[in-house]
């Protein structure tokens, strides 16, 4: 439980908070990137290098960019004229998410005594081991994910592209 952990945790949570609280959507996307970066560093801190770099590549490199594109394409940069950025019944949502946090925290407190398991030293998880596992035990899952990504790619293109006048497609 070192000093770096607390800094990274604070960074991540702050980024996440900013991402959901800021009014300007572009700022939200930037804050989201900060949260993602903090998470990636937390992964590195957990000795999960591969997952950390995957996080950086996928989330910061792709998802955050996608979000920015979506914001620009839908012209959502300007805040709505009537009322705030929050739903009219935001209070209910807040109560529910507070409830979720309470339940999670409660579970955490309940299980405190059993949490001191596992080795304190870093386990070895080299890229070679991960590659072997991906091509061995998890090869079916890998193939399915590949298929899923292809389907999502095609699906996203079909869903988002312009429908031409007079033609019925998609």
């Amino acid at each position: 439980m070192g000093f770096p952990f607390w800094i990274l945790a604070a960074l991540t949570v702050a980024g996440a908070l900013a991402a959901v609280l800021l009014r300007n959507l572009v700022h939200c996307a930037l804050a989201l990137t900060v949260a993602f970066a903090g998470l990636a560093l937390l992964f590195l801190n957990l000795d999960a290098q591969f997952a950390g770099f995957a996080q950086i590549l996928v989330y910061i490199g792709a998802v955050a960019i996608l979000v920015v594109f979506a914001i620009l394409l839908t012209r959502s940069t300007e805040t709505p004229k009537d009322g705030g950025v929050f739903s009219r019944t935001w209070f209910v949502g807040l109560v529910i998410s507070a409830g979720a946090f309470a339940v999670l925290g409660w579970a955490l407190l309940q299980s405190q005594p059993g949490l001191s398991l596992g080795p304190a030293t870093a386990p070895a998880a080299t890229v070679q081991q991960i590659g072997t596992a991906l091509m061995g035990r998890y090869v079916l899952a890998l193939e399915i994910v590949a298929l899923l990504l292809t389907a999502a790619l095609i699906g996203a293109v079909i869903v988002a592209r312009h429908e031409r006048e007079g033609t019925k497609e998609g």
Binding site: S87, T89, F91, V92, G93, I96, V103, W106
Partner: protein, 697 residues
């Protein structure tokens, strides 16, 4: 009901090569359906070839499996081979799936594949002009695969999964012409009504798992319906003085009631005739609706658990579960036959006839054991598929006309359809020699000797009379008398007639597999050798019973011919019976007003419940915030305007809210994704809290 345990073959359990690849039988059509799904619409020939080819492969495998079972018989043992595997392992509990090859599943496999194949071929002619030809074959293949999955399952869970898949394809196919509002409504009705039964089925399954820790039927003595676990279930008490075995059996039977259109969940089956006719033939006559009967046959040891057996091996009395099965079956048989008398839609008559015959099967299972019910299932599958396809041919030939009052004298224009239809009709009526005679007679014989009550016997005999009567009425209207339709009728193409002829052959001769003098079918299912002998006829009462049932059938046919045969009538003439018995006729014609009854009870209750949910939504979810702000506003103004704002305003406001809430029936479904999301999150939070709470300590 003679159990010759001593003479029975010893069961053999090890799996052979054919059992190892038994899973391919459902896999072929499912894979074919997947490929057809991605084919383009104009690829009609390819999609039909794929569907038919895959089912033909399944048929070959099914025949090989049948051959294996038969070879086992010759070598003197009853084949019951299973392949089981663990699907999910959670801690010590594990969920296992598996399939089984025994006489019961082998017979069903061959029947489903064979009838299915004929109907597939027939469909290529019937659906030739439909623009969604490929979609049709995609659904049909998926259905065939799912149904075969039901048949080979050795695990109640695998059976349930296939069962639900069958329900889904049934929904898709009933609503195949979804542009018609009536078809879409019928599809929804079928799906929801069968779902009522399925919920009970699911409960029974969970209960069974909780009690026995396994859902496998047979697992080398450790399966849930093998004696070891059954003994456990029998000593476990549950509510209302039932044992757990009875409770579970009744819950599972409720699932069968939904699927097989038994009282009181029969309402969906006649409406399901909105689908294309091959679908009615395959799904709503031959296979899917028989799945409920098959399910009861499959879990028969559970249904029969705890029955008293005398020293000579005869069953004394009945179990609670089987008594319920018998009564439900017998009532359905009579009730649906009465309705069928007063229907005018050619397919609806057949639909009620199907409901009625399913009742016979259930009653047969209830009193006579697996073989009696299953024999009627198999023969019925052949002749009812024949009748439906004949009706399809008639509808096709009469330019999509379904009202029998607008047909007539088709024996001239459609001779082949007429002859095959006649074979099916005589088989269904139970005229001697035809298949239906032997199987129906076996059921009547069992009910005759039932220890509990004689009433089901009389109900079924009267039902047999009605069956002969309404079939004669239908045939007279359609094939005799004068032509009352519009345009000219024409015979169907040979691709449709060929399957009819094949089925007609079986409708006539299949019954000889299970006659009293050579009860091969029963011996095959029960696993002991069949003996040929005319000695069975010397059994007291048997010949008399056969004579009586033949007499009843001939009486029904005769009265039908007398009232309807070869008469010239106009299409808008009132029915002969309608003139003589107007009250009864109206009652039958309106199907005993069951749909209306459900309309004012169940559906009204749901509408009321939806209003309650709507009110909750407005007051609790949407209303919390408005309520809070409203309170704040009231609080701020309380000092000066206490009286007007609080008393009057508050009262008006609540009245208004109440009126709004009561007036609309939108339920929680107000179209806001975020509200759905919140409900979802709330449910998850509550669920997690409950889970953590219950696992504390």
């Amino acid at each position: 009901m003679i159990q010759e345990a001593a003479a029975a073959f010893a069961p053999q359990i090890t799996a052979s090569a054919i059992t190892g690849i038994l899973w391919l039988i459902p896999a072929f059509p499912i894979v074919a359906s997947g490929i057809i799904a991605v084919l383009k619409q104009p690829r009609r020939r390819a999609s039909a070839a794929l569907a038919i080819g895959s089912l033909a492969c399944s048929l070959l495998l099914a025949l090989a499996a049948m051959g294996h079972v038969l070879a086992g018989r010759f070598n003197g043992f009853a084949v019951r081979e299973t392949v089981n595997f663990t699907w999910i392992q959670v801690g010590a509990a594990q969920v296992e799936l598996g399939w089984v090859l025994d006489p019961l599943s082998a017979v069903m496999l061959v029947m489903v594949c064979f009838v299915g194949l004929l109907i597939f071929i027939y469909s290529t002619g019937y659906m030739a002009h439909d623009e969604n030809f490929t979609r049709f074959f995609c659904f049909l293949s998926l259905f065939a695969g799912a149904m075969l999955g039901v048949v080979i399952s050795n695990s109640l869970l695998l059976l349930f999964m296939s069962w639900e898949l069958v329900g889904l394809t049934s929904y898709l196919l009933i609503g195949f012409w979804y542009q018609k509002p009536s078809a879409a409504a019928a599809a929804k009705k079928a799906f929801l009504t069968t779902r009522v039964g399925d919920v009970f089925f699911l409960l029974g399954m969970v209960w069974l798992f909780a009690q026995t820790g396994t859902l496998l039927f047979y697992n080398a003595g450790k399966g849930s319906i093998e004696p070891l676990r059954l003994a456990l279930l029998l000593v476990t008490p549950s509510h209302l003085g039932m044992t757990a075995a009875t409770g579970i059996a009744l819950l599972i039977f409720a699932g069968a009631v939904g699927k097989s259109g038994q009282l009181p969940l029969h309402v969906w089956l006649p409406d399901a005739m909105e689908g294309p006719t091959p679908v009615s033939a395959l799904i709503h006559a031959a296979t899917m609706v028989a799945a409920g009967v098959y399910l009861v046959a499959r879990v028969y040891p559970l249904m029969q658990a705890g029955v008293q057996v005398s020293q000579s091996g005869e069953v004394i009395g009945s179990t609670t579960a089987l008594t319920v099965v018998t009564w439900v079956g017998a009532s359905t048989a009579l009730f649906a036959a009465l309705i069928a008398v007063a229907q005018n839609d050619i397919k609806r008559i057949l639909a009620y006839s199907t409901v009625s015959q399913l009742g016979y099967m259930m009653a047969g299972l209830g009193v006579g054991g697996v073989a009696v019910g299953m024999f009627h299932l198999i023969t019925h599958a052949f002749f009812k598929a024949l009748l439906f396809m004949g009706a399809g041919s008639v509808i096709h030939g009469c330019h999509e006309e379904q009202d029998i009052r607008h047909m007539g004298n088709l024996k001239i224009e459609m001779p082949f359809t007429f002859l095959t239809y006649l074979a099916g009709m005589l088989a269904l009526s139970g005229v001697p020699i035809f298949a239906g005679f032997w199987s129906k007679d076996a059921i009547l014989e069992s009910t005759h000797t039932w220890d509990v009550s004689r009433a089901p016997f009389y109900m079924l005999v009267f039902g047999a009379f009605l069956t002969a009567f309404y079939m004669m009425r239908q045939v007279s209207y359609v094939f005799f008398g004068n032509w009352r339709g519009h345009g000219e009728a024409h015979e169907s193409p040979s691709v449709m007639l060929l399957p009819l002829m094949v089925l007609a052959f079986f409708a006539i001769f299949l019954g000889f597999l299970g006659t009293p003098f050579w009860p091969w079918f029963r011996a095959f299912l029960d696993g002991h050798p069949a003996e040929f002998g005319l000695g069975a006829f010397k059994e007291p009462g048997l010949l008399a019973l056969m004579g009586t049932s033949s007499l009843v059938v001939l009486l029904g046919l005769g009265i039908g011919w007398r009232l309807y045969g070869n008469k010239s009538v106009r299409a808008d003439d009132a029915d002969v019976l309608e003139i003589r018995f107007p009250t009864l006729w109206t009652l039958f014609e309106n199907k005993f007003y069951i749909d209306e009854l459900y309309g004012v009870t169940v559906i009204a209750f749901y509408a009321w419940w939806a209003r309650v949910a709507d009110w909750m939504d407005r007051r609790v979810w949407g209303g919390i915030v408005t309520g809070v702000s409203w309170l704040a506003r009231v609080g701020a103004q309380a000092s000066s305007l206490f009286d007007t704002d609080w008393i009057n305003g508050g009262f008006d406001k609540s009245c208004e809210e109440l009126a709004n809430g009561g007036g609309l029936m939108a339920g929680v479904q107000n179209g806001r994704v975020q509200i759905y999301l919140r409900l979802l999150a709330l449910a998850v939070v509550v669920l997690a809290a409950i889970l953590i709470w219950s696992s504390r300590g």
